[in-house]
């Protein structure tokens, strides 16, 4: 890791990550370094491994092989106390929002503060409502999640993800299913958080417009491998056919293996090799 004054610190390091679901290899030797203050977008078609990579970085799955470091700590060799501290520096905004339906929006946002800090109730109330203001949900703290629209749920989830002022922020499809105006607002929020708080972010998305707007660098996964990593310009100018397919939203043109295809359709005990 380079640590001179001119090179930003690496805050996320993924080395040669390999993982399987059953017999099927999902990630096949993925490397990725994210620098402090960087927004890294992970793209790829369905089944490319992009969400799986995210879950591994978050420590939700154990890889078959490889290493992951967050803020300089190997997440598979970390002790309990350091892991607790690390978790306080990580915010996650899930695709579904993942708010607790039995709690108000305000209680949902305040939850990490109650879990991880000993701040008094006044301070917790002010911070959680301040975060709702940041995501344009000021005054919505007493509503239940069921009373919110899809876009509002995503924004509330974002408020909860940033309530601890994390150094690392992870998004899974932040603008999926949102109308273009709301999706653009989420993108603006992501950029504001990077610029204001200096947060480093990993955003998994298949929304090209969003990726090109927010990314400092884009990693394109394909069949569990890192197809290309580069700036928006480098990705847009790539002459790699698979990258071009992705950008132009064309269907894949893999050459079909007729006998393998027939096996997939007909064999009762067929498994992917």
């Amino acid at each position: 890791m380079t640590t001179d004054n001119h090179t930003p610190e690496t805050v996320i390091s993924v080395k040669q990550l390999v993982t399987h679901y059953g017999m099927r290899k999902i990630l096949d030797g993925v490397d990725m370094d994210v620098k402090r203050g960087e927004i890294r977008v992970i793209m790829g078609g369905s089944g490319s491994g992009k969400s799986t990579l995210l879950w591994h970085i978050l420590g939700l799955y154990e890889p078959t092989k490889g290493e992951i470091e967050l803020l300089g700590q190997n997440i598979h060799q970390i002790n309990f106390n350091d892991n607790l501290k690390l978790k306080q520096n990580i915010g996650v905004s899930f695709q579904s929002g993942a708010l607790f339906s039995s709690m108000t929006v305000g209680e949902n946002v305040a939850l990490p503060l109650r879990e991880f800090t000993d701040l008094d109730e006044n301070t917790i109330r002010i911070i959680s409502r301040m975060k709702l203001e940041v995501v344009n949900l000021g005054g919505f703290h007493k509503l239940m999640p069921a009373q919110l629209s899809g876009g509002m749920i995503k924004r509330a989830a974002l408020a909860r993800a940033i309530v601890m002022d994390p150094k690392l922020l992870f998004f899974d499809e932040p603008s999926a299913g949102l109308d273009p105006v709301v999706a653009s607002e989420i993108d603006d929020l992501i950029l504001s958080l990077r610029d204001t708080m200096g947060m480093s972010m990993v955003v998994v998305t298949h929304e090209l417009d969003s990726a090109f707007k927010i990314a400092d660098k884009i990693t394109v996964l394909d069949n569990g491998k890192n197809l290309i990593t580069g700036t928006v310009e480098e990705i847009q100018q790539s002459d790699n056919k698979r990258v071009m397919d992705l950008l132009q939203r064309r269907s894949r043109h893999d050459k079909l293996n007729p006998s393998e295809y027939l096996k997939r359709l007909t064999q009762e005990n067929y498994t992917l090799s």
């Binding site: 701040l119 301070t123 002010i126 301040m130 203001e133 309530v163 708080m197």
Partner: protein
């Protein structure tokens, strides 16, 4: 006892608190206590933020509480010389439109 990251300048009418370094979860409760304590003993409190390198949401919340206390008790509470980082956080939460900033 005043914590190291807060310096006082106090007269009969006004207290100025000079904050320096980083304000985060580890020391924001002390900032809150100092601000509320100063507001109980003088009519006007200024918080000078020129020396603040980093402030998190709990530090901002301490100042919000100070403003709320001042407004409820007929006192003055203002911020002076916020650094760029403090300013951008205040703007993000639109608190730059709520605080009296000099």
């Amino acid at each position: 006892m005043t914590p190291d990251f807060i310096q006082f300048d106090k007269s009969d009418q006004q207290t100025t608190l000079f904050i320096s370094g980083e304000v985060d979860l580890s020391n924001s409760a002390e900032l809150r206590k100092t601000i509320l304590g100063a507001l109980k003993t003088t009519d006007s409190v200024k918080v000078n933020l020129s020396g603040v390198d980093y402030i998190d949401s709990s530090g901002i919340a301490a100042m919000v509480e100070g403003l709320q206390f001042a407004n409820s008790n007929g006192k003055k509470f203002s911020l002076t010389a916020p650094s760029q980082q403090v300013n951008s956080i205040l703007r993000l939460a639109r608190l730059d439109q709520v605080f009296d900033i000099e």
